[in-house]
């Protein structure tokens, strides 16, 4: 428990520092980092042909975001599909099938890192070392840019003071925000974390695989090939960029990827660092420190209670051991060196932040633990993915503002701008989207057993399918495993979930913020809603919980809850 508290508070403290740094680099005023980065950025802007001083309306910002993704997506697909013809393929790895190439391209493009291919064996060095690493740096910065634009829009854009009511607002330049996010945030942080991990013994080398003798001389195998490589830097960006795709198949449960308690702490903190920092940044950019406080309390309460339930769940014995004398925590699928608590902490953070890296196998968690990991993904707003998590949080804030605004007898407004039918229509479609996507695809898949392809019948089978689509929709990427998921159906249906789960939840809020930015701003009075009040915070938490509870309870009853109840009944019978 001490370690959990230490890691949690350290992460919050570092996020506070990082948050004010991020406010600095995105607020457009001169910043201490300018001296180092301005010359590099100038060169980059010239290379990609961007005028850094021209602002964008929400429409052109959104278009730039979508177009840059489309271009990157096509490029990624082509590299994966034709990797056998491209250089840097010493092992002569063949092309991916078109559906697997599409799924892999979209999965990394959407910052999800859901993998339907098996590890390093199917990707060339170009695909792995260049394409995927590039996407891991760039895609979090893309979502962060959209989040930054939304925050600007909420205060009327950069030209708020000069623009008239109804006039288009400048939400900043997408390419500038993107380049700054990569150069000033992702790269330096990844370098620091990579150095720290190297210090802890994570391989950091371009040498080939090492041949070592096994310790057990009695074993018929006397030699083992241990693949190494630039693992530390890959792991650093995997953790920091809410990416999650590991160097080694078993991800951070592998001792080379996560060798020591210190490396485990560093990687756990790196999981939540930027998502937490975005919350601090938001307060800075909105010039409302109290809004950050409210968001921290709302997210913190939810995060800690989910974490608490997961820890509790994993401290219970595995159901298979029920009635036996061998009691103790559920250690199935966990590293003995991390134990149940640190595994539960990692599992909570990685699902809450849409990261998806693991240091234990979630498929083997007790049902309540499994339910909590899924809940974290479904909400996708407790810290959440970089940028997109906070945007989801703002969507919940808007819905809560609409309800509470009515309850205080005013047309609902946030920061003085009114939420009207146009905005509510978009918010309504964002409400329907998760159920449509996750429940719809789950229902179709389980209805046709020939395409389900999972290893477990009954409740656990539903859990697996449900988890896969939740993970894809939430752009998380972690797997419940046990699915034969490299089939055209799984690849294509997951691509649909990935795309819907990435682009609509970023683009529609940008549209809402953009449309609201040019509205008349009514001044604060004692009759306006106080967003920073405990009452609103409580209302917001209630809205988040009730919406998700109502949307997903029946499916959860047929999945993990049913499983838990069944296991409980079974152990009683024993």
């Amino acid at each position: 428990m001490f370690e959990i508290t230490l890691i949690f508070t350290t992460a919050l403290g570092l996020a506070w520092l990082l948050g004010s740094y991020m406010t600095g680099i995105f607020s457009g005023q001169s910043h201490f980092s300018d001296r180092l980065f301005n010359p590099i950025e100038k060169w980059v802007y010239r290379a990609i042909g961007v005028n850094a001083n021209s602002g964008m309306t929400w429409k052109s910002y959104g278009a730039a975001f979508l177009i840059s993704n489309l271009v990157l997506g096509i490029l990624a697909f082509l590299i994966l599909k034709f990797q056998h013809l491209l250089p840097l393929n010493p092992d002569g790895i063949g092309p991916l099938s078109w559906d697997l190439a599409l799924h892999t391209a979209v999965s990394f493009l959407t910052n999800t890192n859901q993998q339907h291919y098996s590890g390093q064996a199917q990707l060339s060095y170009l695909s792995q070392g260049f394409l995927i690493v590039t996407l891991q740096f760039v895609t979090p910065a893309m979502a962060l840019a959209v989040c930054v634009a939304i925050l600007r829009g909420m205060l009327g854009g950069l030209n708020n003071d000069s623009a008239k009511e109804g006039e288009a607002r400048n939400l900043g330049n997408y390419y500038v925000d993107l380049v700054r996010g990569v150069l000033r945030l992702m790269l330096p942080l990844a370098a620091i974390v990579a150095l720290l991990l190297t210090w802890q013994g994570v391989p950091s080398s371009f040498d080939g695989a090492q041949k070592v003798n096994t310790l057990d001389s009695a074993s018929p195998i006397t030699e083992q090939i241990v693949p190494i490589g630039p693992v530390a830097s890959m792991v650093a960006i995997k953790q920091l960029g809410t990416n999650g795709g590991g160097w080694y198949g078993p991800n951070s449960s592998n001792p080379l990827e996560n060798p020591t308690p210190v490396s485990n702490a560093i990687e756990t903190i790196a999981l939540v660092l930027i998502p937490m920092a975005v919350v601090f940044m938001a307060g800075g950019m909105l010039r409302r420190k109290k809004f950050t406080l409210m968001a921290l309390v709302a997210m913190g309460l939810l995060s800690v209670s989910f974490l608490g339930a997961t820890v509790y769940s994993e401290l219970q014995p595995n159901a298979a051991f029920a009635g036996l004398s061998a009691q103790g925590p559920n250690m199935e699928g966990k590293e003995v060196r991390f134990g149940p608590e640190l595994s539960a902490l990692w599992a909570s953070f990685t699902t809450q932040t849409s990261n998806g890296s693991v240091n234990a196998m979630h498929d083997s968690f007790n049902p309540i633990g499994g339910l909590m990991t899924r809940s974290g993904m479904l909400l996708n707003a407790i810290w959440g993915g970089i940028g997109c998590g906070f945007v989801n949080f703002i969507v919940y804030v808007w819905i809560a503002v609409f309800l509470s605004g009515l309850m205080i007898g005013r047309t609902p407004e946030i920061f003085g701008r009114k939420l009207e039918t146009r905005e509510i229509t978009l918010l309504g479609s964002l409400l329907v989207l998760p159920t449509l996507c996750v429940l719809g695809l789950t229902a179709i898949t389980v209805a046709i057993p020939s395409i389900t392809g999972n290893s477990n019948p009954g409740f656990h089978g539903i859990s697996q399918v449900f988890y896969e689509y939740t993970s894809a929709f939430a752009n998380n990427g972690s797997g419940f495993e046990g699915l034969g998921d490299n089939t055209p159906w799984w690849n294509i249906s997951c691509v649909i979930a990935l795309l819907l789960g990435r682009y609509l939840p970023l683009f529609l809020p940008l549209a809402i913020a953009g449309m609201m930015s040019s509205k008349r701003v009514s001044p604060d009075s004692n009759a306006s809603l106080k967003l920073e009040s405990p009452t609103f915070c409580f209302t917001l938490i209630a809205v988040i919980l009730i919406i998700n509870f109502l949307s997903f309870l029946p499916a959860a009853v047929l999945g993990p809850i049913g499983e838990a109840l069944q296991l409980a009944t079974m152990s009683l019978e024993k």
Binding site: G458, P554, A555
Partner: protein
Amino acid sequence: MHKPAQILDSAGVKQAAFGAVKKMSLVSMAGNPVMFVVLVGALLAGLITVQRFLNGDTVGFELATTLILLLTVWFSNFAESVAEAKGRGQAASLKSAKEALQARRIRHGELELISATQLAKGDKVKVLQGDYIPADGEIIEGIATINESAITGESAAVLREAGTDHSGVIGGTKVLTGEITVLVANDPGNSFLDRMIGLVEGAKRQKTPNETALTVLLASLTAVFLLVVVTLPPLASFVGASLDYTMLIALLVCLIPTTIGGLLPAIGIAGMNRALAANVVAKSGKAVEVAGDIDTLLLDKTGTITFGDRQATAFLPVKGIAPEMLRDAAVLSSLDDPTPEGKSVLKLAVDLGAVLPVKPTDATFIPFTPETRVSGVILKDGIQGIKGAGDAMQFWAQQHQMQWPESVNALIRKVALQGGTPLVVASGTHILGVIALSDVIKPGVAERFARLRALGVRTIMVTGDNPLTAGVIAAEAGVDDFVAEAKPEDKLALIRAEQAKGRLVAMVGDGTNDAPALAQADVGLAMNSGTQAAKEAGNMVDLDSDPTKLLAIVEVGKQLLITRGALTTFSLSNDVAKYFAIIPAVFAGALPAIGALDLMQLHSPTSAVLAALVFNALIIPALIPLALKGIKLRPISAEKLLRNNMLIYGLGGVILPFVGIKALDSIIALML
């Protein structure tokens, strides 16, 4: 004030009940997505019932479900019909006075007697003493005293005159004295009242912006729950369970926000009714809704905050002048002054013991002109009594070589500081002193402003008075700000300035020169006594011509939103308990392990589902009175308001159905 019928009689209830049945078609429910889904569910449950009956299966549960769902839709329609009936009743009682009226239309210089219903906009009618005015309009010729009690309930006669700010007349009111020519303002069926009736009748009613937004949100939630329920059968069949379709329909209906969906139209209509009950005719529902958002209220001082007729309250002589001398000069100056101020000077003098002289016939009278701005009397023997405003009298004194004593400035300031208007009085040779005219603030005004302030509305007083006077009245009346020495066109500029700061502005006015400002304001409340131009420009007309009525409208607007928000929250919170009642029931047969979720320990799956459905249906009529009356608005901060409503409708909404469903389940168990 006019008191419209508040409670429907039994005939009205019967009519509303039938009206509710008539609305039960898919076409007429299409505007209400939530109740549309319930009706479709009822039809599906009905089909299942028929099919089972033909197969010879038991149909008790299916039939009960169908009937309860139909009842749910009927309750919702009933709520709307009751609200409509009340609105129609109120409007009709206002309107009835107009029916069967005769009009003397002026055509080609001749008078012709026609039915009032044949009058069109632009017609001129002659109204003689003792006639009823046949239509709403404006006096273009003549002056009359009119009894408006049929509309306003106020029995005292009012004076209406062509070419003034009080030229508007209402159809159905009676001319007591005088003879007027009236220009008809509207085509038949298009008067303010007709339009207001349109706002409360379902078919013609347009949804207000906020109501549309909420309907969209409710439709989205309905879509979410539709997906939740539709995806259940495949999931269940994967674990080897088959689900009962009637139960799934029941689950869907319980989850979608039927409480707010069913009451939403009634809430909107009731809001208009409350405005109408306050004798305010709104031209659109939007105006009433916007009133709840008002940040700034612009008010004329005269006639709104004060009674407007300034009364002489004291004679203040300068040093060395006897009080009687000033008093008598003041009397002399006012002998030929027909204004209320002049009369009040004489009245005060009499109260102080003066004997009024007979009005001399051979004296020179100096009439008040805009150029000199002084008036008075010069007797044949040279004795003078002149009075006027301070600056005008200073100029007069200069012209007539009179000395301007220093102490008179102090007196002027003293009166102004107390909110009064000083009039300086002079004899032929000396400045004698000052008459203090005071404006009397209407009783209860300060309380109303305090209440508005608590609701977040700033009040700004606009007056032509000097800043000193204005400041005193402002402080006494408790307005937040004031604009002194304002010209009529300043109001428009002030509204624009306030709006530029993002504020929503309401304004009350009656004169033609108020029309641009009334049109510019977000809420323009025109006085019914005002000119036609003002009434056309505003978006509401107050039949009582009471400027502080705006407070009532602000409260109606806020109540409207609060009622919607609270019932939406209540509706969503209810779902938690319904889940715990229905989910175990739905899965009970196939997956017994799920029985552990049955927190309420309900009697049987069938009784659990029926209890939840009955609760869901009954909560609608139980809340009809609340929807019609609106949630009581107390002047507390937004923070407290939200906390109270979250506790009552949020937390209460979670707890109440647990109790209600458990109780209904026990009753149903006895019946089964």
